[in-house]
Symmetry: D2
């Protein structure tokens, strides 16, 4: 059985495991006050071209989103996001649980449009009763999006421009960032992100780590007292060095890029096969998630060999399914699956 369900089905990349094992018996201070976390922060800063950035390591995506958003918003503010955003749908109300409203805008293939954001903000402040409503206090985007799509550089620049004009931070959820950076036609680099976003996180859980997300704050003043907030949100790992070791490994010798590149290459191989077989794409994704319409009977037939996710409800004759690759996906499995298409 071949598994294309998601990108967190295995443990960690073998290189990450090797380093965790090598350092296992060393004794270090807790809560990230160790040499490995220091190294990891430096490597991340370097990769972002922001030597003075603050970097924080948290365990998972939901807690990272909740903690960052809680740190960025004042009490009367909410976060602008698409209606399909992870924070709006799949985080069990974590944003609201810390007191903030998700302000919903339309999704354009999973993406937020700068013009929509600008219009929302303009309309908001044009309404005389705006102080009775939740103020747009920040913008949340994910890159890649939930649908595998990517912002172009000019789209991201437009969002950044709108946010800075409105004096609200732009935050990027990079749970799958490695796959976005590795996409062939991607014109957004990590340095662009660090230049255009006020806060963002580089995902580890879905990109080769056992777990872990690296929050980057190019201008540390944007998130003061964030360490205490991480603790308050229960997101501070006692053995913080586990995060440091993992991210130091991912950001050494281009491992993070290699992981992304491998997964994307195999995903595109799958996509090409779908297209070649004349299956209709649900989304034109350049990253490690591929969405395609398949006849229900094809889905049933393939399910004997492989697992993958139904995206939305099963249709009458055909349905959308999602295929996900990651660092551990084997080319021979992809080839074998393609032959079964």
């Amino acid at each position: 059985m071949i598994h294309f369900d998601t990108d967190y089905m295995e443990g960690a990349h073998p290189e990450v495991m090797r380093r965790l094992l090598e350092t296992n018996m060393e004794q270090t201070a807790g809560y990230g006050n160790d040499v490995y976390t220091g190294q990891a922060k430096e490597l991340v800063c370097q990769a972002c071209g922001k030597p003075d950035a603050a970097v924080y390591f948290l365990v998972g995506g939901t807690q990272t989103n909740a903690t960052v958003i809680d740190g960025l918003l004042a009490r009367h503010e909410g976060v602008l996001a698409t209606e399909t955003a992870h924070i709006n749908v799949h985080e069990a109300g974590a944003i609201e649980a810390s007191g903030h409203k998700v302000l919903v805008l339309p999704s354009h293939d999973g993406k937020l449009d700068a013009a929509d954001v600008e219009r929302y903000i303009d309309d908001f402040y044009r309404d005389e009763t705006y102080a009775h409503m939740v103020a747009p206090g920040m913008v949340y985007v994910s890159h890649p999006t939930e649908l595998g799509t990517l912002y172009t550089l000019s789209e991201l620049e437009a969002l950044s421009r709108v946010c800075r004009k409105a004096h609200i931070p732009l935050y990027m959820d990079g749970a799958r960032l490695g796959y976005g950076l590795a996409a062939e036609q991607a014109d957004v680099t990590l340095k662009d992100i660090a230049r255009l976003c006020d806060v963002f996180y580089i995902g580890g859980t879905k990109v080769g780590a056992l777990f872990g997300e690296a929050v980057v704050v190019p201008d540390p003043q944007q998130l003061p007292h964030f360490f205490s907030l991480v603790k308050q949100h229960g997101a501070l790992l006692a053995k913080g060095r586990l995060l440091g070791i993992q991210f130091a490994t991912l950001f050494t010798d281009g491992l993070y890029e290699r992981i992304g590149g491998h997964a994307v290459r195999l995903a595109l191989k799958l996509k090409a096969a779908f297209v070649a077989k004349e299956y209709r794409l649900y989304m034109d994704s350049p990253t490690n998630q591929q969405f395609v319409y398949l006849p229900n009977e094809t889905i049933d037939r393939l399910s004997a060999y492989a697992t993958f996710e139904l995206w939305g409800p099963r249709g009458e004759t055909e349905s959308v399914v999602r295929f996900v690759t990651d660092w551990a996906t084997r080319e021979e499995d992809v080839d074998a699956f393609i032959r079964m298409l």
Copy 2:
């Protein structure tokens, strides 16, 4: 340099690492829907003598306390705890951040007294204006306490009796439970805890795991919808099997007991050496944390060979220091340190 600072300075027990490595390339469903998590739940239930208990695995202690307490309390209720309780001091306001007050009672060597709890509840409801105040909605104890001390069986029974009479749950923070169960004069077993507490957690982070805490709910109805709350609190690990594998390992072949026993034996060896040298104990602790008064010059002299924590402010001539052992502490290091005393 020998380190006695705390019990989370290393990675994980080698057996735990071995199992993580062995299973690393297996593909499993996320969020704890995997075979290892299933096994771990069963093993924990067995160890607790509660085959029908609900077991949830979370990543760390602060998030576990915050999530459980949030799940147990109604909005108008607070949690009774000693003034020295971890939730009252060292969790950066995590309990209050989810809306609940910590109601403080005196600490008796780190422990909460059943009579104090009973009196608090009685006085509360005798006050005609009680509906204007935060109702005592649950009791929080840690075992061992922050000071390494243990509840006796009769003390725990008394607390349980008071709680059940008042219809409020008794919750035990077992961050260092392994060391408490392994203490020589301990008369409280895991089965006692499962019988007397309404919710408790078995600590992994400080007892041999890379990270992880196992929340046990003997009567699952006490914490309905807890999975969603775990998610909402950002405490749900994507690769849930990491927790399952670790706890399954800890609860196989008595590893959890062996870890506890090893650390406690070495801690008591240290304690005996302090006593033999006529140093005054600050706390008569039967577990892996030892607290002793040392002359400041002795502290300074020993600091060349070993690290340990100052407990509270440095005194004029002597100070309290804490020594902590764990599964990784080596007997030869303890012996060498004792010779230097």
Copy 3:
């Protein structure tokens, strides 16, 4: 100048003021423990046909909604409402500030459709990952709605049926309930509401009181410990008797009905005049709020004599405007205004 801006532009109905003045020097216990509050509760219960209902008096609508919803929802639950609902738009995030998500459904002339609610709940529990999402924990409707429209008895019965089938409470915001009960074609009585809703409030602020809303809980077990929650939300009035006196007055000798009837009659007179002049209604409202399309030049012309609210943005040639009547609206002013149309 005649004012049709809203229904809270004056103080209180003269009868209410008279009673406040008459009782002003009496000394009573605080927080609603006074004879007038007792009387008011009894009168409200009587009017609702629910002698055993619990009745609580709060000061304003936003605080009432926030407190009731906080009391009804578990932490993992959200409240279903239309996208135009007051709690979703105009309460500055009060619901989210107490930790809960507003789950949005389409508005049908301001109303929530029972079939939409049923489908939402069905779809929710059919999704295997539902525990990662905010559970629909209650339904919020307002009657009259923000657009002046009313639920029919069969619509309300359908909503009640869906809620009870799903074991979630149905809550009605009755900020303008008096105007809804007084509408000519209204087939929903106060007793129907008390039979079909699990919690609802009878608005005072907009219906003749200085301020005040009466929360009715037909089965008091639905909102246990609500008094403490009212206090916690800062919604408990020290001089609670002010609320008691006002509601006792409103529910004596049919004053509440008379206030509603007067305002509705004049609103319908306005509506008839609009229709007679062939202005297009934006909404076919049977209550004290009337929404009509007027040419911008007509709006400008009328603004010399009267004030009223632009509903939404000003259009190119015509715009929607809202006219609101209340107990204090004078027939001669309405007649004079109609002559100017």
Copy 4:
């Protein structure tokens, strides 16, 4: 029967009622955008000697405290207060419900000591793990205190100095401020308070209004977006002019001072009578609350003529009782009561 239970047993001062009645039929904009609220703000600013202060009118004390504290604190901060503080005991957890911890310091006759505050802050930042704990983010005092006592000018100056040195705001709960300003030996004026506190409120509910508290922010930048927060906390009165009219009346022709002076004079008459009869004072209060030890039989005897509050539990032979006067207390009643002593 004469009532000395508390200072919110009547309606409002007749002058306040007169103005409410006079203006009752006027139509004004809602939410404080009316001419009376504007006048009231100006009068309050004038009385405080701070022409540029921001003034907000809220309905009650608990909501005022919760809203102001929520506005002043960052998420990782708590509020320093005495253990007897109203926010710590009698507000049903309102502070915690909005996410903040009350950090408790000893009470000195109900007052907070500047040296205690300074030591707390110093110790906090000296602790290396301070980022794991709730940071002291503001100081809460009440003046008069719960025990009727007053800060001296030098005590208040010391608190202000400590707060400004630590860059945290000083907030004063002035629920009974009128009685504090009117005390004979009071050396703290309203202008002193406006100079030394960063935010404070002038109580109306207990000092002659039907309800209402005036929050004063000498430097408006200290509480940005406070209007939205007031709305979010459900503390925004629709008919805001009711608050404006009341405070405009209280701050016209010295009414607020007269109310305070009357109540204090009668309270001191009572106090003098207690002393003359050789009853022991529990607290040496210069304001409208008097606390005295009375033999239980005396209490029982007096209860036939008057009501007053038992302060704490009934003792074996004597108990502490509280007598409260206000604007409505009649001198002949006080005299009659004194004769019965």
